[in-house]
Amino acid sequence: MSEQNKVLKSEDELFRFIDNDQFVSEKITAPRYSYWKSVFRVFFRKKINIVIIAFLVLILLVAFIMPIYWHYDPNENVTNAATYNLSPKEAIQYFGGFSFKWMLGSGNLGNSILYGIVSSARTSLLLAVICAAINMTIGILVGALWGYSKKVDAVMLVIYNIIANVPFILMVSVLVYIIGQGFWSFVFALTVTGWLFIAFFFRTQVMIIRDREYSLASRCLGTPVSRVITKNILPFLTSVIVTLLAQELPSYIGMEVTLAFIGIGLSAAVPSLGRMIAQAQGAFLTYPWEFWSPVAVASAITIILYVLGQNLADASDPRTHM
C-alpha cells in the first residue's frame, strides 16, 4: 500500500496527453489486392483445373509436334485394296506387329486413322484459335464503340439487322462455294460476319455499364472515348470476355464438323475432323473405329476448352476473390 502511494503521486502525473496522429487511422492493413494474382489463386484452388490443363497441354503437344514425324498421307495405301477398312487388330496384324500408326485401324482407303486424327486435330485447333482471335478482337473493339456511341449504334443496328437475318450456314456455304474450300478461305468465311454477333452481344454489355457514375466522372475530367473504353469499360468485362471465349473456341471446331457433315467443309487436301466424321458416317455400323475415333477426339477437345474457359471465367469474376 505504501509502496503504491509512492509511485502514484497525483492525477496530473498519472494522466498525460498522447499525440493523436491523424494519418495512423488512415492506414489500410489489408494485404494488397492484385486482380490477376487473385484470378490465378482462385483458378488453381480447383484441383480439377490442373488436370484439365495437363490434358490440354498433352493435346496441344501431340497435335502440333507429332504431325512433323507422323506424316499423314490419306492415299499412301490406295493401290492396295487389302488395307481398306481394317480394324485395329487386323491392321496391326497386317502391317507386322504393333505400331502407333495402326493402333486405331485403317480407313476406307487404307489410310491411318491415328495419323489422320492427329493432323486433323491440329487443323481444328488452329482454325478455332485463329477464328476466335480475329472475331473476338474485332467484335470487342467494334462492340465497345457500338455500345458507347449512340450515333454508331443507329448505323450498326441497321447493318446487324440485315446480316443477322441471313442464315449463317447459308452465308458460309455461299462464301465457301465462291472462294474455295482451302483453310484460309474457310477462316475468311467464318470471320467475315462472325465478329458482328460478338460485337452485338458486347454492345449490350457495354450499354449496361456505360452510364455508371465513374464514366460520367471521366467525362467531367475530359477523358477521351478510347481511354474510357480501355480503362472504364473493358476491365469490367474481363469475365464476360473470358466466358465468351470459352463458348467461341469450341464452337468453331463444332462449326467445322457441322459444315463438313453437310458437305461444305474444308477440301480433301486439308485433313479435318469434320471430313473424317463425314466420310465415316456410312461405315458407322460396319467399321465403328473409323467413326468413333474422330468423334471422341473432337468431343474431348471441345469439352476441355469449354470447361477450362468456364472455370477461368469464374475465377476472373472479382466477386469470387473474397
Binding site: E213, L216, R227
Partner: protein, 316 residues
C-alpha cells in the same frame, strides 16, 4: 451583403432541361436563372426530384440544356463549343459526385484515378512532376502515399469521397459543382469532408455550387441559398437572411423540417406542410422578384406585397 459589386463567375439564364420527347417529355428544370459570384458558395436546396442535380449536371454539361444559356466568366458554355473552349471549360469546372462508391472506377488504382485529369490535359512536366503533384494532393486531403497503389474498394466511404475530391482539386479548377458530396457519408465523417471543402476554398479561392437537401449543413457551408421546388426557383437569399426571414411557404416548410437535437422540443414542434395549392396563380402570373438585400422570391404581385410586408415589418 451587397452582391452587385462582386464579380459574377457563372450565370445561368432562363435554363430549361427537358427529358424525353413529344408526349413523354418531362420538364425537369423550368426557366431557372441565377448568378454565382467569385469565391462564394451557392447552395441549391430542395426535395429529391426537384432538379438540383440536373442543374449541376447541366453546368458540367452532362445534361444538355433544352433552352436558355449558361455563361462562365461571360463566355457561353452551353450548346456547342469549339474544341479549345470545351477543353478549357472542362478543366476549370469540376464536379464532385454524390456516391463515392459509384463514382470511382473500381478496377483502377487510386494513382490512376487521381492522375486521370492530369493525363488528359497533360498538366505535368514529366513523370516526376506528376507523381509529386498527386502525392501532394493526396496529403492535402489527408490520405497516405501508400494508398496510391490501392483500389477504391479497400477504402472507407469518407476516404473514397476524399479521393474524389483530390481528383477534382488536382486539376486546379476555379469552379466546383459539389453534388451532395456528403449525403452518402457517415455522419461522423461529414464534417471532415466539409472542412476540406472549406479549406480548399480559402486556400485556392474556389467557387462552389453546393447541392444538398440538408439545411443544417447548407447553413454551415454556404453564402447564399437557392431554394428549388419542381424545377423552379422559389427563393434566393443570403444564408442568414433566408433562415431569419423565410418568405416563401416552401422555404418555411423546409426550415421547419430541420430536426432539433432536443427530444422534447422536437416532439412538440409543429411542422409546416407546403402544398402548391396554397397559391392562386389563375389570375396573376407569378415571377421571381427582388425584394432587396439580395433576397428574391417567386410569387404573384399580391403575394410579393404580402412577403414585403412580412420581411420589412418593424423596419422603416
Amino acid at each position: 451583403m451587397e452582391s452587385n459589386e462582386k464579380k459574377v463567375v457563372l450565370s445561368v439564364r432562363n435554363l430549361d432541361v427537358v427529358f424525353g420527347r413529344g408526349k413523354k417529355a418531362f420538364k425537369a428544370i423550368d426557366n431557372v436563372s441565377f448568378d454565382i459570384y467569385e469565391g462564394e458558395t451557392l447552395s441549391l436546396v430542395g426535395e429529391s426530384g426537384s432538379g438540383k442535380t440536373t442543374i449541376g449536371r447541366a453546368i458540367v454539361r452532362i445534361n444538355p440544356c433544352s433552352a436558355g444559356e449558361i455563361y462562365y466568366k461571360g463566355k457561353k458554355i452551353s450548346g456547342k463549343l469549339s474544341r479549345k473552349d470545351d477543353r478549357d471549360v472542362i478543366r476549370k469546372i469540376q464536379m464532385i459526385f454524390q456516391d463515392p462508391a459509384a463514382s470511382l472506377n473500381e478496377r483502377a488504382t487510386i494513382e490512376y484515378i487521381i492522375s486521370e485529369g492530369l493525363y488528359n490535359f497533360h498538366l505535368y512536366k514529366d513523370e516526376k512532376d506528376r507523381i509529386a503533384k498527386i502525392e501532394k494532393v493526396v496529403r492535402d486531403v489527408g490520405l497516405l502515399q501508400e494508398h496510391l497503389t490501392r483500389y477504391p474498394h479497400e477504402f472507407s466511404g469518407g476516404q473514397r469521397q476524399r479521393v474524389g475530391l483530390a481528383r477534382s482539386i488536382v486539376m486546379e479548377p476555379e469552379f466546383i459543382v459539389a453534388d451532395e458530396p456528403i449525403s452518402a457519408l457517415d455522419v461522423s465523417i461529414r464534417a471532415q469532408v466539409l472542412n476540406l471543402l472549406k479549406k480548399f476554398q480559402v486556400e485556392r479561392g474556389l467557387t462552389y455550387l453546393f447541392i444538398a437537401h440538408d439545411l443544417s449543413i447548407v447553413r454551415f457551408i454556404s453564402d447564399r441559398i437557392v431554394v428549388i421546388y419542381k424545377g423552379r426557383i422559389m427563393e434566393i437569399a443570403p444564408t442568414e437572411e433566408l433562415f431569419q426571414y423565410p418568405l416563401h411557404p416552401y422555404t418555411k416548410s423546409l426550415i421547419s423540417a430541420i430536426p432539433i437535437p432536443d427530444p422534447i422540443i422536437e416532439k412538440e414542434k409543429k411542422l409546416f406542410v407546403y402544398s402548391p395549392s396554397m397559391h392562386d396563380y389563375s389570375v396573376e402570373k407569378p415571377e421571381l422578384v427582388d425584394l432587396g438585400n439580395g433576397h428574391m422570391v417567386f410569387g404573384s404581385p399580391s403575394e410579393i406585397e404580402k412577403y414585403k410586408k412580412i420581411r420589412f415589418a418593424g423596419q422603416n
